[in-house]
Every structure is written in C-alpha cells, then in structure tokens.
C-alpha cells in the first residue's frame, strides 16, 4: 500500500476515533444534564461607582464552589477597569480584583452561571481553617459590627451560660437563642447586634451578626458569611449566616432560616468574614444590584461524576481560573492548521514557520489595535537599531542578544508610552514574544540585504496576513469553548493535517508563478 493511501486511512481512522469520542462524551453530558433536581442559575451583579482617583480598586466576591454547586461560566464586563488575576483563597473565598484606569464613573457587570445539584457531585472543598492561634484570634476580635465587648453582649452571654442545660453545647444554645428568641424582622428591622439583643427583634443579617458576636464573646471563633439562597428568581437575594469553628471544621448556622450544622444544597457562600460582595477603596457612590434567574436546562458544570478515573478527560471540571488559558492553548493547533493551509495550499511565505501563530497568540489577551501599533513601532525601531548595530561588526550571538535587549526595551517603552497617552483600553498591554520578534528583525534585515527590501516586505506581509488569520481563529470564543468541552476535536485537526501533509496539488501562488507554462508549447 503506498504511503498516500496509508495517510488517507490514518486520517479516516482519526475522524472515526474523534466521532466516537465526541459521541461518547455527548451521551455522558446529556445523561448528566438530565439528572433530576439539578438546576442552573445565573447570578448577576451590577455595580456603578465613581472612582475618586485613578488606580481605585474594586473587589468582587465570587460564588464559591461547594460539593453541591459549581460555577461553570463567568463573564465580567467592564469599562475603563483593568482586571487583575482571579485570586483564590481557601480561607475566605474567590475574589476578583479590578483597578480603575481613570477617575470618574465606572460600571461593572459580572455574571456567574452556577450548577446546583442535590447530590454531592463535586469534591467538597471545605473552607480552610486557621492553623495557628494568631489566625484563630482573627475570628475572635471585636469589630464595628461585631461588638464582642459590648455589655449587652456580655450580659446576654452570661444569661445563656446560666441556663445552659447539662450536656448541651454552648454554641447550640447561642444558635437556639438567635433563631428562636430573637424575633425575625424584615429588612427594616435593626441590623446591629446591640439593638437586636435589646429589642429581641432583628433582620436576618442582625441575627447572624448577633450569633457571631455571642460566639466570639464565648471565645469560639466565628464569622459572618454572605451568600445566595438559590430558590426562586429574585432581586437582591443575599442571605447571611454564621460559621463557627468547631474543632477543625467551620460549621454553618443560619439563625434566619433555622439550619444548623449543614445548609441546604442550594445555598451558595460568596463572601466569608464580611457582608459586602462588591467593595473597594477610593470609590464613591457605589451602587450594587444583584439578581438571580434560573437558566433553561443545558450543559452544566460537571458532566462526569467525580471520582471515576475518566473524569480526568473532562476539562470542564477544572477550576474556572484555568479555563481561559486552556481554551487558548487548545486553539493553538487550529492556528497551526491555518499556517499549514497557507503554506501548502496557498503558498504564502512567512518569516519562520510558527512566527505568525505565536504573534497571534500574544495578541489574544490584548487589544489588537494597540498590539499592532506596538508591533509596528518595535519592528521599525528594532530594524533601525539593527542597521546601526551592523557597523559595529559584532559576532552573531552577542549581536542577537543586543537586538533582544533592545526589543525588550522598545516593548516596555512602547507600553509605557501607550499608557501615558491613555491608549491602552484595558491596560492589558501586548507582551509580544520577544525572541520571535528578535529573530524576525534579524531575518528581515538579512533578507533585505541579501535579496531585496521588496522581498523582505513581501515576507513580512505574508507573516502579517497569516498571523491575522491565526488571530481570527484564536479569538473565536465559541470554537474555543467547543474545543475545551470536546478536546477530541483535535483528532479531526490531526486528520486534516495528515491529509494536508500528503497534499500534492499546486499551491495557489504556483498558478501564477507557472502561468507561462500553461500556454501552447513553444
């Protein structure tokens, strides 16, 4: 069998394999999607504020993943803010921090899609407990809202201690007191602990804070938790409860709804140790609204049950922080495919095989216009410095290293200049691949010296065209999600590449190059 036929069979085999894998995965996803009782919810935060100065910080608490809930999609839309990386702290919760690039009004919308299941589908990630006495002390001290040392609190605690029945736990007693003996009031009822204890009436937040204060007064570490009760679509649906450190575990108590020890599966913690889910520094006129809506049934977070080894093949179970990076990495083969098509079918020549793909990759996270501007400026300055450098007659490796250093300098300087003129819309400056750029400058210079500047420009144009096409592919978010959900799509990619590798037809440019040969014989 000749190798061309083998290649066709290999490609067909890969397509078959890809189809089988996709089919299996689709079936598993569909089955788990139909799991009864599972619900998908969308939580939306909207925040408006005035930044008092440039650099003002906004911090956004993000719904935590629990054994029953998992955030499977998140979008943060904002203007004039620069996102700092998502931070994950097991001691508190996940937090997204953003900085305002300028003074003045800003708006922010954050959307989180959450998959809730009555069964414990995901590995329980318990909140981390403080390991040292100092860390414990942080959950014992008094604050403005938790007046541990207030006489009213001390007095209430003393009374609770006195009528503590034998063999009962003081925390249980405090919980019973907050849940039953303090009357529930709506949001108009007092939030603060002292009024709650005096008037025996408080809002849900007031009751939760009272419990924290009493626990802390009894030298039991406790904290307030803000979260969502995903029951029905509602406006401003924040609930508050208390977490008490018992032994080495945080145990939830919800005086408002009467749950102790465990919360219903549809309660989702958002922030621990505080009540505001959006906060910041140097902000004024902060307005926050939250809403919860149920999403129609569709693919949720975790399709495969955890624990089974084949869950390893499900990338969507990975923490959200990794999703974006992995999606882009998974798109890279498609960029290579674009390059291969341009090489073998179109016949466009570029500087370096994967230079366009890597350039495109560096543009993905940033604004392409400023990226292109940076690229042009750095290339021009780099070429200028390279031709000045030519007079020094340096050996190759030191010379390339000088060019690399200059490229690094030009890139950082350009980023700084763009920022100075406020031309970097998202403050996500393009960090171009410096080594690639250095080699491009060197090759451009040599090609224009040895062949002709026109040929060098032709190669550069080819690089930019192929790079632009790679960029279009890498930026294709819906394809990124598809590849992320079904990574076996790359069986098809390899199949196409195998076929391309055996493509022996003319390149498009050859139809022009050999045009003289198509005429009548001489």
């Amino acid at each position: 069998m000749n190798s061309r036929r083998v290649a066709v069979w290999v490609a067909a085999g890969l397509v078959f394999l890809g189809l089988i894998c996709m089919g299996l995965r689709y079936r598993i996803y569909r089955v788990s999607r139909l799991a009864s009782g599972d619900m998908l919810w969308r939580i939306t935060y909207k925040a408006k504020f005035q930044a008092v100065r440039a650099g003002a910080k906004v911090r956004l608490s993000i719904p935590a993943d629990t054994a029953h809930a998992r955030v499977f999609r998140q979008d943060v839309l904002h203007s004039g803010l620069s996102a700092e990386r998502l931070r994950s702290s097991r001691l508190f919760a996940r937090e997204l921090s953003l900085a305002a690039g300028r003074r003045g009004p800003h708006a922010l919308t954050a959307r989180f899609d959450v998959h809730i299941s009555p069964e414990a589908r995901w590995p329980a990630r318990d909140a981390e407990t403080p390991a040292t006495p100092e860390a414990r002390a942080a959950f014992l001290h008094a604050t403005a809202t938790i007046p541990v040392n207030d006489p009213v609190v001390q007095e209430a605690l003393t009374r609770l201690r006195q009528d503590l029945a034998p063999n009962t736990n003081l925390v249980e007693r405090i919980f019973r007191f907050c849940a039953r003996e303090i009357q529930s009031g709506d949001d108009g009822a007092p939030h603060d602990v002292a009024s709650a204890l005096r008037g025996k009436r408080a809002s849900p937040l007031g009751r939760a804070q009272t419990m924290v204060a009493l626990c802390r007064a009894a030298n039991v570490p406790a904290r307030i938790v803000a979260g969502f009760h995903l029951g029905a679509a509602q406006e401003m649906p924040l609930s508050f409860w208390t977490e008490v450190l018992a032994g080495d575990r945080w145990t939830p108590y919800d005086p408002a709804d009467g749950f102790a020890g465990a919360l219903p599966h549809n309660v989702l913690p958002v922030r621990r140790g505080g009540v505001e889910i959006v906060r910041g520094s140097d902000l004024a006129e902060l307005e926050i609204s939250c809403s919860i809506v149920a999403l129609p049934p569709g693919p949720g977070a975790l399709r495969a049950g955890h624990g089974q080894p084949w869950a390893m093949f499900d990338l969507t179970r990975l923490p959200l922080e990794m999703h974006e990076t992995l999606s882009v990495i998974l798109l890279l083969p498609l960029g290579a495919l674009v390059t291969a098509v341009f090489r073998t079918v179109v016949g466009i020549r570029t500087f370096g095989t994967f230079t366009p793909t890597l350039l495109a990759l560096s543009f993905v996270y940033a604004n392409w216009l400023t990226g292109l501007l940076t690229f042009a400026v750095v290339l021009t300055l780099g070429l200028l410095s390279r031709s000045l450098l030519d007079r020094l007659k340096l050996l190759m490796v030191p010379r390339l290293s000088v060019v690399l250093t200059l490229v690094v300098a030009w890139i950082t300087f350009t980023v700084s200049v763009l920022d100075y003129f406020d031309l970097t819309p998202s403050a996500q400056a393009v960090i171009l691949p410096m080594v690639i750029l250095t080699m491009t400058i060197e090759r451009f210079f040599l090609t224009s010296e040895e062949d002709s500047p026109a040929f060098a420009l032709q190669l550069l144009a080819g690089t930019v065209v192929v790079g632009a096409c790679c960029f279009a592919v890498l930026r294709w978010a819906s394809v990124g999600r598809l590849v992320f959900t079904y990574p076996e799509v790359h069986f098809f990619t390899i199949a196409v590449l195998v076929l391309l590798g055996r493509y022996s037809g003319y390149r498009l440019t050859e139809l022009w190059r050999f045009r003289e040969l198509a005429g009548p014989r001489p």
Partner: protein
C-alpha cells in the same frame, strides 16, 4: 518584480498546468524529495566540504581547496594562507542560496578587491570569516567552517551574456538520470548572483547537445540578456558530455534520487562541480518552458534498477527529444 495588474490577474487553472506536466512544490516534496532522498544522506550535500571530498575521491572535478578555516583562532593566519594566491573565493561550507560567498579578484595583502570591484580591508574579511564561522550563512544557523578555494574563471562562451558574475549550469537528475538542465546568467539586477528570484536570467539547455534555447527573466520569457542585449539562445556549452557524466557519477555517489547539481564552466578546467542540492527548485521548468512530470515518469518507468552510465546518457538524450 513585475507588478502590473494584468499580470497579477493572469492566473491559470490547475488543470492547464497538470496537462503540461508542471511539477508543484508540494508534489516535489511529497512525491520525490521525501521518498527519494534519505535524510541521513543530506549532510553529503549540505556540507560543501563533504561534497568536495566525495567528488575528489571519485574523480569528479571540483575547484581546488586552498585552505579550510575551522576555528576562530585560525582566522589570525588568514593573511598568510592566501599570501601566495593571486585570487580566491571564500565560501561557507554549509551556505545556502549562494549566501556568504566572497570572490577576491586581486589583492596586495592588505586590500582585497572583490568581484563587484569593492575594496575590502583585511579587517573586513576577518569579520566576514568570523560571521561565517558563527553560522550566519549556514542552514539553520549552525556553526560553520569557511572554505578558501580556487576562483573559477568565466568561460569565454558566456562573455556577452553574464554581467558581474559567473553563470552556473544546473542539471536536475532523477534516479541518476539527467532530466532537465538550465544555465543561470547573472545580471546587474541580480548583483552578480545566479539566483532567479533576484533577477538572474535562465536559459533552458538541450539535454542531448548542451545548446541553449530561449530564456526566462522574472518569470517571463526572454530571448536576450537584459543588460547586454546579446541573444541567450543558440549558445553551445562545451564539454557537455563530460558535464553530464560528472553529474551522473555524483548522483551515484550521493545516493539521492532527486538531485540538482550545479556546475561552473571554467575557462581552463571546463565543467567543475560547485555544489549539489537535495531540494532543487522548480524554476528550471520555467527556463525550459516544460513541465518536469512527464520526464520524471519516463525515468521512473525506464530506470527501475541500476543502469550503466552510457545508458543513462542515452535516456537523457531521449528525454530531450520527448517533447
């Protein structure tokens, strides 16, 4: 480059090229280079020193090597190495596309005049040797060696059709049978180099006689040299049979199925092998105004096993009459 709109619009249909048996780059790679040229034999053509040694061992004429500079330390002795030579050529051992070649026509031990009548100082040449050793001109940028060898003198037959340089003759062989040949004539535009995409003129050569017919410049038919106006058709390459024999022998030695061999016609020595190429370009088809495929298929059918040298030259002559 020719940039008028009409020429850009004159694309042809693949079927038209297929009918004329034009070989494309993809088919060259997938059908001939990959299966026919074993990777392990590439150093034999990529390293010109190795090619030269193989040629010398098998009695194939190559320009005499004066010296080889292998280490940066050797550069110090360069002036002494060339003291007794009137003229010479410096060449990177692994250079590609004629890069890094310096032809010195004359010198007075301090100033060296190159082919373009550019005077270079000793320091200039030392720097050139250093960059050569550091791999600037080599394939893949690997460290390299510099060869100092005899300068070949242009044969008088090319007096009026080569400007600022020496023409070279490319013979394309498949399974050690010559299938097509051309001569590349440097022009002012190509700056004395014989590279077609830089503006050199190419003329097809008749495989049986070594006579030139119409040429091509910048991918367009040309019958006269653009600088001198002399006709490039009807020239007869002297020593054509020896040239073909040398090419065929070299193909046997290198064990490459699909091979380009470049010759220079020296006024004194006749055809001398300059280098061999494992991925010879396709412009030879434009120069000959013929597609390669029918000839390659013919050889494929005729040369299944090893053939005697004379039989292969007969096949080549038969190919010339094929179309």
């Amino acid at each position: 480059m020719d940039l008028n709109v009409a020429s850009w619009l004159s694309w042809v249909r693949p079927r038209a090229l297929r009918r004329r048996g034009v070989l494309g780059l993809n088919e060259r790679n997938a059908g001939f280079v990959l299966p026919g040229n074993p990777r392990a034999h590439y150093p034999r053509v990529d390293d010109k020193l190795l090619t030269k040694r193989l040629c010398e061992d098998h009695g194939i004429p190559v320009p005499q090597t004066y010296a080889v500079i292998e280490r940066v330390g050797d550069i110090r002795g360069f002036q002494e190495l060339v003291r007794t030579r009137l003229d010479f050529v410096i060449k990177p051992a692994k250079g590609a596309e004629g890069r890094g070649i310096v032809v010195v026509l004359e010198h007075n031990h301090t100033t060296y005049t190159t082919a373009g009548n550019v005077p270079l100082t000793l320091a200039d040449l030392r720097y050139h040797l250093e960059t050569t050793l550091s791999g600037l001109f080599s394939l893949g940028g690997q460290p390299d060696r510099a060869i100092i060898e005899r300068r070949l003198v242009r044969h008088p037959i090319f007096e009026r059709v080569a400007v600022n340089g020496t023409p070279d003759i490319r013979v394309l062989l498949y399974r050690a049978v010559p299938v097509m040949a051309m001569v590349r004539l440097p022009t002012r535009a190509s700056r004395g180099r014989a590279n077609l995409h830089q503006g050199a003129v190419a003329a097809g050569l008749h495989l049986g006689t070594g006579g030139t017919f119409g040429g091509v410049c910048h991918d367009r038919a040309a019958s006269v040299h653009p600088d001198t106006g002399a006709s490039i058709a009807g020239l007869e390459v002297p020593g054509w049979r020896e040239l073909l024999l040398a090419a065929v022998k070299l193909a046997d030695v290198l064990e490459m199925d699909y091979l380009g061999v470049d010759f220079v016609l020296d006024a004194e020595l006749g055809p001398v092998v300059l280098e061999a190429n494992a991925r010879p370009g396709l412009a030879i088809q434009i120069a000959n105004r013929r597609g390669l495929l029918p000839r390659l298929r013919f050889v494929e059918a005729a040369a299944r096993g090893p053939l005697p040298l004379a039989r292969r030259l007969e096949l080549a002559a038969a190919l010339a009459e094929m179309d």
